[in-house]
């Protein structure tokens, strides 16, 4: 059975989302595995979003922002450029492979770049295989629910 990776793309409204939109309106074909969430700025991407995506079953997370110097809010992407590498250093300690999280700059005119990125990351994550959150050592949760109800 073939594995289709689920990738969450969190893209900023002004550049990357518009770039992805351009890829669409230009009828460029790319892997349908990236599910896009639009945020106003890549600086809005709380590292919690990335963890939550994995916890809820994503296999990879792609964060897209404006190129350095181009952020609509001037410095949002610089913060992101520090947060995501630090998050990735922490994720490495948690056994999450490097290729599952990517931060990329895509401008509003780079539909082709978005197309290439979506394809490339899909293959990268496909090669890594499904992400499974660590299974608990004991199935305690159901019993807890039963107790709480009783």
């Amino acid at each position: 059975m073939s594995f289709e990776p689920r990738i969450i793309g969190i893209l900023c409204n002004w550049c990357s989302y518009t770039g992805a939109d351009l890829a669409g309106t230009s009828r460029m074909k790319y892997a349908p595995n990236v599910r896009i969430v639009r945020v106003m700025c890549s600086g809005r991407v709380d590292p919690t979003f990335v963890l939550k995506a994995f916890q809820q079953g994503a296999d990879g997370v792609l964060i897209g922002g404006c190129h350095p110097g181009d952020c609509h809010y001037s410095t949002g992407n610089y913060k992101t450029a520090r947060r995501i590498p630090l998050l990735k250093k922490m994720l490495d300690q948690l056994g999450i492979e490097d290729g599952r999280v990517r931060l990329e700059w895509v401008s509003a005119s780079e539909g082709d770049r978005f197309q290439a990125l979506a394809n490339e990351m899909t293959e990268q994550v496909r090669a890594l295989g499904p992400f499974r959150p660590a299974a608990p050592s004991k199935p305690a949760a159901m019993e807890v629910a039963a107790l709480a109800a009783g």
Binding site: F3, D46, P47, T48, V50, L51, K52, F54, Q55, P68, T75, Y78, K79, A81, R82, R83, P85, L86, L87, K89, M90, Q93, L94, G95, I96, E97, L128, G129, P130, F131, R132, P133, A134, P136, S137, K138, A140, A141, V144, L147, A148
Partner: protein
């Protein structure tokens, strides 16, 4: 009003929470006046069977410290839950996994290898001996609790009514909890007996624009006593830590290590700290990002020091790579 029945228990803990109960000093007499202790393994000789023989919900309050990482701890947590009307997660280990939760950054096998094969004190002992859950000896069968693959906070194993955070909780907060319980004036179930906001919100230090160019570890500098420690380059967990301790560490000129856990509304303490520290680091070049990564030696151990078991991912992923 008749005396209440209380139980105190320790699971995966250091014993510090037990000492914290005694740290209320003369107020311990108030506790003794309010309650009869029916189980307190650290201090008094009761047997588990005494508890098993009690009717369900016949203990008024159980103060439970320590995380859960063995079958015995889970069994007693469930037993005490059934017997107790009010269950209090007492201290960081019970509330969020605490220091024992850091074991979730490694695996059970790595831990056992370290302790029973690699440790300097066992090297050269001949063949390694691992503890076994069952051992048959001439006198009969011996049993040991099973060590789990991971550490859990108490509420991942049983329903918890109140949380008393801190490593250990402060005497003031303990007495707040004790008085509330003794007088029956309990907060709504699920309440954390501490503040709601962040430690920064109540911190007495002078705060200016947060910008740092270098991160220091606590042994590398002696910080100024008035100025925000994070602004001086020390990783202070105040921005993502619940207030309530009275800024104890800050008063001692040490950065907060995060023992009160995340404030209300924060889901993942570590992720919030990644965000907070990375945002104020100055420099937009790849070189400055690389320098920051170098200076923050152990992000998971620093940002989840007390909260690994409580985090969204809970533990390091093991053996799941590939198809």
């Amino acid at each position: 009003m008749g005396k209440q029945k209380w139980a105190l228990y320790w699971a995966a803990s250091c014993g510090g929470c037990e000492i914290a109960v005694l740290d209320v000093n003369e107020k311990i007499l108030d506790i003794a006046a309010a309650a009869d202790i029916v189980l307190w393994p650290c201090a008094m000789d009761f047997k588990y069977d005494d508890v098993r023989a009690m009717a369900d919900r016949s203990i008024d309050v159980c103060l439970f410290n320590g995380a859960i990482r063995s079958s015995e701890q889970e069994e007693i947590a469930r037993l005490l839950r059934a017997k107790s009307r009010v269950m209090v997660a007492f201290g960081s280990c019970a509330c969020t996994g605490g220091i024992p939760g850091l074991a979730n950054l490694t695996t059970k096998d790595e831990i056992l290898d370290r302790v029973y094969i690699e440790a300097q004190s066992v090297v050269g002992n001949g063949h390694p001996v691992f503890p076994q859950p069952h051992t048959r000896v001439a006198e009969g069968d011996l049993e040991l609790p099973v060590l789990y693959e991971e550490v859990s906070k108490l509420s991942q194993v049983i329903p918890v009514d109140y949380y008393l955070p801190g490593c250990p909780p402060t005497p003031d907060l303990i007495m707040t909890a004790v008085n509330a319980i003794a007088t029956g004036q309990l907060p709504p179930p699920g309440a954390v007996i501490a503040g709601e906001k962040t430690l920064c919100d109540v911190c007495p230090r002078v705060k200016q624009e947060k910008k740092i160019t270098r991160i220091y570890r606590p042994h590398q500098i002696i910080p100024e006593p008035q100025k925000c420690l994070l602004e001086q380059g020390l990783i202070c967990c105040g921005p993502a830590t619940r207030e309530g301790c009275g800024a104890q560490c800050i008063q001692a000129n040490m950065p907060c290590r995060g023992c009160f856990g995340p404030p209300a509304g924060v889901i993942d303490q570590g992720a919030k700290l990644v965000s907070a520290v990375a945002s104020i680091y100055e420099g937009d070049t790849p070189e400055s990002v690389a320098a920051m990564l170098e200076e923050i030696v152990d992000p998971a151990g620093t940002f989840y020091r007390y909260g690994m078991a409580d985090s969204l991912l809970k533990r390091k992923r093991v053996g799941t790579a590939g198809k």
